[in-house]
Symmetry: C2
C-alpha cells in the first residue's frame, strides 16, 4: 500500500482496499513507488514501460482503434500498455476502484483471434481500453459509488447501457475509477478508497466527481473514460487533469444503469460524458453511442443521430462570433485563467474571428437555485446512506450538505415553484443568447461562449468552493466541452494584481491565489454551445484549436498533440 | 341566453356570460335557436349561411390557406363564414369563452390589404381562422381557464408562443373555447360558463378538456383549433366530435404561455396539440410551428425540424405491420368500437398489410401511477383555486380529485420513487414494442398501434370514468393521433353480446352500453407511434385512411372527405 495516509480504515474500506490490492498483485512488476513528498508524479510513471508501450500510450482512442484495425498492434499489446500505466496511476494517485485486468486480457485475446480469423473488427472501438467511473454499472463488479454502505452490496447484474454499447463496439472494460462520497462534489474523496490526487501536483485535487478518470487518463492509464456530470463532474476533473471532457445536453447520451443517490430526480438531470486526450475522441464516443440507436433501449433518450459532418465543420460559418465570459460576477478567476482567455481572444481575432464579451446572467442566483434542486429533501437521502455505512461526511460532502442542513424537505408545491423558477431562468438565458445578435458584426447570435471551467486551477484538497462556472450550464442544459490550453509553471509566473473581492466567496478564492500553490497544474478552458448542438460545439472547438494549438513546450500537452493537435479532424496517422 | 339550464349563476359567472353575450350581440342575425329537446343540432346549423359560406365551411385549413392565397376568397369572406358558424355553435353547444370577432375582422381586412398591395401572403396560414382553448394565453383576453377565481384576473399581457407563431404565419385568432374546471377532465364543464354539449347529441359530452374546440370545430365554427393534452384532452374531444387530433411527444410543439394548475410539474407533462377536420391540417400545424424554430424561444423544446417528406410517406415500408389493441385488460370497449377495429383489421389485411394483436401492458397500473403524478400534493392546488373562487367541484372534478382526497402531499423521496416507477414502466413498454419483431412476418417491430380512444363513444354528461386508452400514451410519452371512422346510428345497430365484467370499472362501463344512448355519436380510433416520430405517425395514418376512407354515407364525415378523404397527402385542389 502506498497511500495509506490518504485512506480511512473502516472495516469495509479495509476489505475493499485489500481486495483491490489482491487484484493488483499479479501486476506487481509494473508498480511504481514515489516518495510522498514528491508532488508531480508525471516524470516517474514511465517505469516498466517498453518502447512499444510508450508509442501506444501516446495514441488517443481514435488512433488506437486505427492501429489495432490495421494490425500494427494487437488488442493485447494495447491493453497491456494501458494496464501498466493504470497500475502506476493507482500507485501514485489512488484513482482506481474495481479491477478486472484478467478478464479484460481474456477479452483482448478473443478480439485478436476474431481479427485473425475474420480479418474484421467487431466495431469501431475494437481493442480500445475504456475505463468506467465507479457508479456506472459493470456486470459482475461492485458499484460502491464512494459509500461504505454500498460496498459489496451493489455487484452489478448487468452493464449500464453505455457500457453495453462500448462492449458491442469492441471496447475493452478493464477498470473502474474513483468517485467521491455523494457524487455531488468537484473533488474525489470517500471513506471506501480514500482520496484521489492530481498527478501533476499531489497536493492538489484531481477534481471530481469523475476524479478517478481524470487522474487515470492524465497518467496515461486510460485513453478514454466515462464520467458523469450534474454540476461539473466531467468538466472539472478534465480541466484539473489537462484533458478533454464533454457534458452534452440531457437525454442525448445513454444514462441508464447508474447507481447514485436521488434516482428519479427530474428537476435537474445529470449526463454521462466522455473524458479523453483529444477532442476527436469525444466525437468518436458520441458517434459510437448514437449509432447504437440507444433511444430504442432507454426511453428518455432523444432520437437524434450523430451528425458526423456537422462535427467535422460542415455548415460552420467561416467567421465565428465567440463570446468570452471572463468573470461571472461572483468570483473573478485566478490570473492564469484570465491570461489564457486573453490569449485566445487575441488568437481568435488575429485569425479573423469576432470576439465579444459575454455578460454573465446572475450566476449566484443560478447557483442558489440549482443547489435547492440538488437537495429537494434537505439532503436526507445522502445523510441516510452515509449513516447506514457507519461513516462520516468527508469535507466536500459536508460543504455541499451545509447548503441545506436542517432544512425540511420541500413540499410538492415548493418543488413546482422551483421548477418554474428554473424554466424562467432558462428562458431568460435563451433570450440573452439570442440578443447577442445585436452586438455582433455578423448579425448572428454568438456561436459559442468561451469561459473558465472554475475560478482556480486544480485547488488544494478540500478547498473547492465555487461551482458557478460549470453548474450554470447544467442549470441551462447547454452542452459544454473542456479542453487543455497549457500548464501553469510557478517559477515562470509574473505576479499580477488582484481585484478587491466583492463578496465572501470571492474573498475566499482570492486568498487561495498564491503563485506557488498551483505549480504544474494544467490550465484549461470551457466552450459552451447551443442546446443539443454537441456536433457544432465540437466543430467550433476544432476551429479554436486550429487558431491556437496547445503549446508544444508544455510537457503534458505532448500527449494531446500527436499530429492532430488534439482537435477534432480526420485521423492522418 | 339559450343554455341557461346548463350554466351556474355565480356572480362572476353571470358577468362573464353577460360579457360574452354582449360580444355576440352585433352578430345576432346569425344566431341559432334550437329547442332544448333536440339532441342532434347538426342539421340546424346552416341557418344564415350563404352558398359561399357553405363552400368555405367545407374547406379544411390547408384548403382555406390555398383559396385565400389564390384569391378565390378573401380573408374577410373566410372569417365571416366561420364567425357565423361559431355563433351557431355557441348557441347550440355552449363552446365559447372569449370572443374577439371585431378585432379578428380588422386583422382579416389588414391581411386582405396586404395581399392586394404586395400580391403575397404573410405566411402559410394567411387568412386562416384559428380557435384557441381558453387556458392558452391570447393577448388582451381573459384566461379564466374554467375557474371563477381566475375570471377577470388573468387578462393575458402577451400571447402564448403557439399563438404568436400562428399569428406570424397569418392565422387569425377570433375566439377562445371552453375547458373544464381543473383542466384535468375528459368532459367540459365549469362554473364560469357551464357545460359544453356534443353537437351530434346534446345529451352526450363533447369530451374534454379541449371540449370547446371539439364542439366548435364539429359545428363548422373553426377549421383548426389548438388544444392541450395530458391524459387525453385533445384526443377525447376530437374523438367524441368526429375530428382529427394530435397529441405529439413532449417538447416537440410550443407549450409556453399557458395558464393552469400545477405549473412547473416535471413528473408528467402535457402537450399542445392541433384539432382539425383533416389529418393534413395536423401536419400543416406542426410544420408551421417547427418552421418558426420555437426551440430558440422556449428552452425545453427540441431542435427537431418538421420532416415534411417523412410525413408524406418517404421511407415508409410498402407493407406495414400494425398492432391492434382491442381491449386494454381493464375495460372492454363498447361494441361499435370493437366493430370499427375489426373493419380496419380486415381492410388493412386486404390491402396487404400485416396486423397482429397488441398485448396491453398493465393499463390499470399505468393509470394508478399517472393519477399519482397528476396529484402529487393530493390535489391541494386544485382545492385551493376552487375554494378561492367560492365555487364547488363539478362532478368530473370531484371524480378525479377523489383519487387523492385526504391524502397528504408526497415527500420528495416519494416523488422520486414514483418517477423511478414511471421510468421502469416506460422502459418495459419500449422493450415490449421492440419485442413485437419476433411476432411480425417482416421481422420489424410493429410500425404503429391502432386502438380505441376510449371504451365508449361520447358518453352521457358526468359519466366519463376510464382514461386508460389515452392517459397510457401520455405516461409513455408516445405520439397519438385520433381520426374519425364513422358515425353511430342507433336504429341501424344489431345488438351484440357483451362479455361479463372483470372489475367494478368495467361493470360500470358495460352497464353504460345501451344502443339508444349514443345515437349519432361519432366513432373514432387512435393510432399510436414511436416517440418523437410524429411525421411517421401521420404518414402511417395516411396509408390507413387510403385503405379505408371514412364512409361517405355518414353525414358528418362529409366534412372530412372533400377530395382528399381527410388523410394527409399533397393538396390536389
Amino acid at each position: 500500500m502506498t497511500l495509506n495516509h490518504l485512506v480511512p480504515r473502516l472495516a469495509v474500506a479495509a476489505r475493499k482496499q485489500d481486495d483491490r490490492e489482491t487484484k493488483l498483485k499479479p501486476f506487481r512488476n509494473w508498480r511504481v513507488h514515489v516518495d510522498h513528498g514528491v508532488l508531480n508524479v508525471m516524470p516517474f510513471l514511465a517505469k516498466g514501460l517498453s518502447d512499444r508501450d510508450r508509442v501506444i500510450l501516446r495514441c488517443d482512442a481514435t488512433a488506437l482503434a486505427e492501429v489495432v484495425r490495421k494490425g500494427v498492434y494487437t488488442a493485447v499489446d494495447v491493453l497491456t500498455a494501458f494496464i501498466k500505466a493504470a497500475v502506476a496511476a493507482q500507485d501514485t494517485t489512488n484513482c482506481l476502484t474495481e479491477i478486472c485486468f484478467e478478464d479484460a486480457l481474456e477479452r483482448a485475446r478473443e478480439l485478436d483471434e476474431h481479427m485473425e480469423k475474420t480479418g474484421n473488427v467487431v466495431g469501431p472501438l475494437h481493442g480500445v481500453p475504456v475505463s468506467i467511473k465507479d457508479h456506472i454499472k459493470v456486470k459482475g463488479l461492485d458499484t460502491s459509488t464512494g459509500y461504505t454502505a454500498w460496498a459489496y452490496n451493489t455487484v452489478a447484474e448487468e452493464d449500464a447501457l453505455v457500457v453495453k454499447i462500448l462492449r458491442d463496439a469492441g471496447a475493452i472494460i478493464y477498470v473502474k475509477t474513483q468517485n467521491p462520497q455523494t457524487l455531488l462534489s468537484l473533488e474525489t474523496n470517500n471513506n471506501v478508497f480514500g482520496r484521489t490526487c492530481n498527478p501533476f501536483n499531489r497536493s492538489l485535487t484531481a477534481g471530481g466527481s469523475s476524479g478517478g478518470e481524470g487522474a487515470l487518463i492524465a497518467c496515461g492509464g486510460s485513453p478514454l473514460g466515462v464520467g458523469t456530470d450534474i454540476g461539473g463532474s466531467v468538466r472539472v476533473p478534465a480541466a484539473h487533469c489537462g484533458l478533454y471532457g464533454l457534458k452534452g445536453s440531457v437525454a442525448r447520451l445513454p444514462h441508464s444503469g447508474l447507481l447514485g443517490s436521488y434516482d428519479g430526480l427530474d428537476a435537474i438531470i445529470g449526463c454521462v460524458g466522455p473524458m479523453a486526450t483529444s477532442a476527436r475522441d469525444l466525437a468518436l464516443f458520441c458517434s459510437v453511442m448514437l449509432e447504437a440507436e440507444p433511444w430504442l433501449r432507454e426511453p428518455p433518450l432523444l432520437e437524434m443521430p450523430w451528425k458526423e459532418n456537422v462535427a467535422r465543420g460542415h455548415g460552420l460559418p467561416e467567421r465565428l462570433s465567440i463570446a468570452i465570459l471572463y468573470d461571472d460576477g461572483v468570483v473573478r478567476p485566478h490570473p492564469p485563467i484570465l491570461q489564457a482567455l486573453d490569449m485566445y481572444k487575441q488568437a481568435l481575432e488575429n485569425a479573423g474571428h469576432e470576439v465579444i464579451k459575454w455578460d454573465p446572467l446572475d450566476h449566484q442566483k443560478g447557483w442558489d437555485l440549482i443547489v435547492k434542486l440538488y437537495l429537494l429533501d434537505g439532503g436526507a437521502e445522502y445523510h441516510e446512506t452515509i449513516q447506514a455505512g457507519g461513516e462520516w461526511e468527508v469535507p466536500q460532502s459536508k460543504w455541499i450538505l451545509d447548503h441545506a442542513r436542517g432544512r425540511r424537505p420541500y413540499t410538492p408545491h415548493e418543488i413546482l415553484r422551483l421548477n418554474v423558477e428554473r424554466e424562467a431562468f432558462r428562458a431568460n438565458a435563451l433570450a440573452h443568447w439570442n440578443a447577442t445578435k445585436h452586438r455582433t458584426a455578423t448579425g448572428r447570435p454568438v456561436d459559442a461562449i468561451l469561459c473558465p471551467v472554475a475560478p482556480t486551477l486544480a485547488p488544494p484538497h478540500d478547498s473547492t468552493s465555487w461551482w458557478g462556472y460549470t453548474s450554470h450550464w447544467n442549470l441551462l442544459d447547454l452542452p459544454a466541452v473542456v479542453f487543455p490550453v497549457g500548464q501553469y509553471s510557478a517559477p515562470m509566473w509574473v505576479p499580477a494584481d488582484l481585484s478587491p473581492p466583492r463578496n465572501a466567496m470571492e474573498d475566499f478564492i482570492t486568498r487561495q491565489w498564491s503563485p506557488n500553490t498551483y505549480d504544474h497544474a494544467p490550465i484549461s478552458l470551457q466552450l459552451v454551445g447551443r442546446r443539443l448542438n454537441e456536433e457544432r460545439l465540437l466543430a467550433i472547438l476544432g476551429v479554436i484549436e486550429n487558431v491556437m494549438p496547445p503549446a508544444d513546450s508544455v510537457p503534458f500537452s505532448r500527449r494531446f498533440s500527436h499530429g492532430t493537435n488534439g482537435h477534432y479532424k480526420a485521423t492522418d496517422g
